[in-house]
């Protein structure tokens, strides 16, 4: 037996040091992970509504049980590795270990024991599962959520007449204290709607409508991210929920139901409007106008709006009515407002970020990866500097 040389002297202390270091590192990580940091807009462990709280109440005990098992098993690994190390006098076959082949009672114990623990936890699992399912039935108001490459659309039927009265994008506005039933759909590939502060995620699958109930306890803005890989710009497909107190929400609805304000004759914005209806309106709708810029006399979205003249894969581009009532654009990626603006009220208050809008208009695919050649996303329209300025002026009037 010519065994390879083993470094015996330094091994134990190194083992110990590194093991302690590792355990410390892991404890630190778990500690840091569990604290609700304000700078973590997508934190899954910081529930802001009863559904998310329900999940939290399930996760925490499960984490605790898992944590105990973790400490016990890893502790046992370390203990066994250190305690039963082969020592100098064990070489040459002295003091060989007792040959244990097994112990049925012990093994049944650690087969049945974990099964029992899991069975107990399963009760809570099932209860939470059905509670969340039942919450959908409690929903009194519904919002249709439509995913497409690579942004989210939200549709409201506030008067329950079967027609959508408000269509907005990227930012979903909802009242606090009310359970909202989402009807999640997709226009192209599978996406997943996820606002971690309010509930778990639910996929948007083409050809299907999936329900999800969310409730926000407090007013605020809650961030989200598409969590099913949906192609090129999946990473830039975000959304947010703005929860408003019920009165504020009603005010927001009233504002959304108002038609656009006609820009003053001769202003840059008026010129921008002309540019809009000659270049943008073939995809983007502004309520109250048809695709050529003529007023339709209606203040709600036109179901039959012949928007996409080019065959968009999703058949849809964001409705830009009241664009500036939102926080961000292009999959909730880029700010519509300068830093310092107040964004969580009924309407944003601050200075529009004309620079970002202009940057987008100059070359959208440079800011966000898109496939306009494959009819997914916005192409570079090769607008002149003047047109960009005019359009920016027009778009910032859409409050």
């Amino acid at each position: 037996m010519s065994a390879p040389q083993v470094d015996r002297r330094s091994a134990p202390s190194r083992w110990t040091r590194r093991a302690i270091g590792l355990v410390g590192l892991l404890v630190l990580m778990i500690g840091l992970a569990s604290c609700g940091d304000e700078n973590l807009p997508l934190n899954t462990l910081d529930p802001q509504g009863p559904q998310a709280q329900e999940i939290q109440d399930l996760i925490i005990p499960v984490f605790i049980v898992a944590g105990i098992v973790f400490v016990l098993v890893e502790g046992a690994v370390l203990f066994l590795a250190l305690r039963f190390r082969r020592r100098k006098h064990h070489e040459d076959g002295n003091d060989e270990p007792v040959q244990i082949h097994g112990n049925s009672r012990l093994e049944w114990t650690w087969t049945i024991g974990p099964a029992v623990i899991l069975a107990v936890l399963a009760v809570f699992n099932i209860r939470t599962l059905w509670n969340l399912e039942d919450a959908q039935a409690d929903a009194t108001q519904h919002i249709e959520v439509v995913g497409q490459q690579w942004w989210w659309e939200f549709r409201y039927d506030v008067d329950n007449d079967g027609k959508f009265d408000i269509i907005t994008a990227n930012q979903m506005v909802m009242p606090t204290g009310v359970t909202i039933g989402l009807r999640i759909r997709s226009n192209d590939v599978i996406h997943s709607f996820w606002i971690p502060a309010l509930n778990g995620k639910k996929d948007a699958v083409p050809g299907r409508i999936h329900g999800l109930a969310i409730t926000a306890d407090k007013p605020g803005i809650y961030q989200g991210q598409c969590t099913e890989y949906c192609g090129l710009s999946h990473g830039y497909m975000r959304m947010e929920v703005k929860a408003l107190a019920p009165d504020d929400f009603d005010e927001w609805v009233d504002n959304q139901l108002e038609g656009p304000v006609e820009p003053a004759d001769g202003s840059t914005a008026a010129e921008g409007k002309e540019v809009f209806f000659s270049t943008c309106a073939s995809c983007h709708q502004i309520n109250g106008y048809d695709a050529s810029g003529e007023s339709t006399g209606s203040d709600v979205p036109d179901d039959d709006y012949q928007g996409p003249e080019i065959p968009l894969l999703s058949d849809n581009a964001p409705n830009l009515t009241h664009l500036m009532s939102r926080d961000r654009f292009a999959g909730n990626m880029f700010p519509l407002w300068e830093p310092g603006a107040e964004l969580d009220g009924v309407e944003p208050v601050g200075t529009p970020d004309a620079g970002e809008i202009a940057r987008w208009l100059r070359d959208p695919p440079a800011m966000k990866p898109m496939n306009p050649d494959q009819n997914a996303g916005m192409p570079n329209l090769n607008l002149s500097q003047e047109q960009v300025e005019q359009l920016t002026a027009f778009l910032t009037t859409l409050k």
Partner: protein, 687 residues
């Protein structure tokens, strides 16, 4: 039949010349050195080594892809890779690591060790075995040629429809994905059939099911999982190919298709696949830990039955990948419960390994460190797995980095660490020299630390809400610190991997300069492969051992005193075989597995580009099949079906091994027909 089954043999490796040697195009290759001895080899050991080298190469490829991902994500708003390239890189990383690294690396260990551990001279169908390897390699290289033909697949390894449809992914990357995986799937199916037959039929006398080493058991279970899960993804891959190339709409919701069908078919395969990836490493740990604890595996029956239980339950948990897909609350509940309880047999394994260590004399070699590290790290992956078996919790965790952390703790912490344990443990057996231990330990700690730095923080990132598969993140999302840590860790893993290669190189040079024969049994080990010389002679066993105990070889060396303590009863030199047998007939090398395998990628190119290529591929396949059938057997007894030699009396004292007869025709027709079916049934509709 058992006799011929155990040793399908034709050409002799000893001194006596073959009695007949048909010439012409169908003569069998005879090279024993140089590249020909590898390319045309049907020796399970050479094929095992080639599998190992091939998968390690792709481990480096997939590792470079991983480093590209981590470099991109090291800082917010990373610009190193474009979104498009990032999507290709993470897809190729996943597919490469699963199908071109872990599965074939498991096949490497299985090929080399399984026949040795059951006391066989080769696998049941040596030429099919060679075909499996070449088909896998052809598929793997074919799949990677997509990099040079317009870009790799970009739909994620799970490749969900309809994003994988031609409408949303018009490039050819996903065509390479579907056809490439069909080719490697053929390789795996053939290999599964081969190894299952080997285990069922070719065990040494006395090697009953419950005397088989745990590694053999786990590998066998994996082959059954492959056998029953691969056809399901084959169906899905065909339908996607038809959608993309021939205009059907299986997964197109707009025209009546159901995107969730892909998910179901993919995960009915995909979840057993997870156990396909991890069980071989469980097997390796179950070999390494007892040897270096100097104790038998604790609770052998529990180890075996928990493996079987995992395999059965593994087919009943697939929809836990779909808790957010909208499959309905009843399904969610059922799959949530089944998923929770699959943790039970897995937990049994972990506790049994610990019980094996308890009271032992742990020899902390590099192999043992990797095995213990595997147990410790897999435990973390298992526990995080239980936390998202809870469906409501999973809706917060799925598709976040928490999942990425989870399955890397399982697949890297489990499978890869297990494989490294296997490298260090079996290296002297396979190559005849040991890897340097001191460097090995540095290697272990580097990988261990790098691994935990990389994937530990991903738990936190996931719980902080970082989604998977996003090509970058923003500065204000709070992901900066841990992503940087993870990226640093990834490069440490990279260094650890290079340290392994350096260790191999330096150990080899040291061995060349100053050869130290590790002997047949450097670790004082337990299973039959340690009973033969290192490296293993071509004929494996001078004489096939008759097995009377589990851990047969150990029991030939050790007995017990009245206190149950070990007593040495025989020296290694006395019980190990000398490897000097002559006149053992071994299967002849063959050109045709390689020819047959070469046809497959051409059929793939034909599906993607021009059917002319498929015609060429089909011709190659047919030439391969008929060459295979018509190839002469160089076995002097070909055509005879009688066993003519006397059964060696007693324990067969002489070094002369049993001269056994395999009717050459057995192998030629049935085996080739088998290959034909396996390949043609899968390929013809495409071509």
């Amino acid at each position: 039949m058992a006799l011929t089954a155990r040793t399908p043999l034709e050409l002799e490796s000893g001194t006596s010349a073959p009695t007949s040697r048909p010439l012409g195009v169908f003569a069998r290759p005879t090279a024993t050195t140089g590249w020909k001895s590898w390319f045309f080899s049907v020796d399970h050991k050479k094929i095992g080594i080639m599998y190992g080298v091939g998968s390690f190469f792709f481990f480096l490829v997939g590792g470079v892809e991983a480093l590209m991902i981590r470099a991109q994500l090291a800082r917010p708003d990373g610009k190193l890779l474009s979104a498009d390239l990032y999507n290709q890189v993470f897809t190729m990383h996943g597919v490469t690591m699963v199908f071109l690294v872990i599965m074939p690396m498991a096949a490497a260990f299985a090929n080399y060790l399984l026949p040795l551990q059951i006391g066989a001279r080769d696998v049941a169908f040596p030429r099919l075995n060679a075909f499996s390897f070449w088909a896998w390699l052809a598929g793997a290289l074919y799949f990677n040629t997509s990099w040079f033909l317009g870009g790799g697949a970009n739909g994620g390894w799970f490749n969900y429809a309809p994003n994988s449809g031609v409408l949303f992914s018009p490039g050819h990357g996903i065509d390479f994905y579907t056809t490439g995986l069909l080719i490697t799937g053929i390789a795996s199916t053939v290999s599964a059939v081969n190894l299952i037959v080997t285990v069922i039929n070719m065990r040494a006398p006395g090697m009953t099911w419950f005397k088989m080493p745990v590694f053999t058991w786990m590998t066998t279970i994996v082959q059954f999982l492959l056998l029953f899960s691969l056809p399901v993804i084959t169906v899905a891959l065909f339908m996607l190919t038809f959608d993309r190339r021939f205009g059907s709409n299986f997964f197109n919701a707009a025209l009546g298709g159901d995107p969730l069908l892909w998910q179901h078919l993919f995960w009915i395969f995909g979840h057993p696949e997870v156990y396909i990836l991890i069980l071989p490493a469980f097997g390796i740990a179950s070999e390494v830990i007892p040897v270096f604890s100097r104790k038998p595996i604790f609770g052998y029956p529990f180890m075996v039955f928990s493996g079987i239980a995992i395999a059965f339950m593994g087919f009943g948990v697939w929809a836990h990948h779909m808790f957010a897909s909208g499959i309905g609350p009843m399904s969610v509940m059922a799959f949530s419960l089944s998923t929770m309880f699959i943790a039970v047999p897995t937990g049994v394994k972990i506790l049994n390994w610990l019980a094996t260590m308890y009271g032992g004399r742990l020899w902390l070699t590099t192999a043992m460190l990797f095995a213990i590290g595997m147990v410790a790290m897999f435990t973390i992956g298992g526990l995080s797995g239980v936390t998202h078996a809870f469906a409501p919790a999973d809706t917060q965790q799925t598709d976040t980095y928490y999942i990425v952390a989870h399955f890397h703790y399982v697949i890297f912490g489990g499978s890869v660490m297990g494989f490294f344990a296997g490298f260090y443990y079996w290296w002297p057996k396979v190559f005849g020299y040991s890897l340097r231990e001191r460097a090995g330990k540095r290697n272990f700690w580097t990988i261990f630390v790098g691994f935990n730095l990389t994937f530990g923080p991903m738990h936190i990132l996931g719980l902080q809400g970082m989604s998977r598969r996003i090509f970058t993140y923003s500065d204000n999302q709070g992901f900066n610190t841990w992503n940087l840590v993870a990226s640093i860790g990834a490069f440490i893993i990279g260094i650890g991997t290079l340290m392994f290669l350096v260790n191999v190189w330096r150990s080899y040079r040291e061995h060349k300069r100053n050869p130290v024969d590790p002997g047949p049994d450097p670790w004082d080990a337990r299973s039959l492969e340690w009973m033969v010389q290192s490296p293993v002679p071509e004929h494996n066993f001078d004489e096939v051992p008759t097995v009377t105990e589990f851990d047969e070889y150990w029991h030939r060396k050790y007995g017990h005193d009245e206190n149950g303590r070990l007593v040495r009863i025989a020296d290694t030199e006395d019980v190990a075989q000398k490897g000097d047998a002559t006149g053992v007939h071994l299967p002849s090398p063959s050109y045709w597995p390689l020819v047959l395998a070469l046809g497959l990628p051409f059929i793939g190119y034909g599906v993607i580009y021009h059917l002319g290529w498929a015609v060429l591929g089909t011709i190659l396949v047919l030439v391969g099949v008929y060459g295979w059938i018509l190839e002469p057997s160089t076995d002097p007894d070909a055509g005879h079906h009688e066993v003519h030699d006397a059964h060696p009396a007693g324990d067969g004292s002489g070094a002369a091994a049993e001269l056994e007869s395999a009717a050459g025709e057995h192998e030629t027709t049935a085996e080739a027909a088998e290959a034909e079916r396996s390949t043609e049934t899968e390929e013809t509709p495409v071509g």
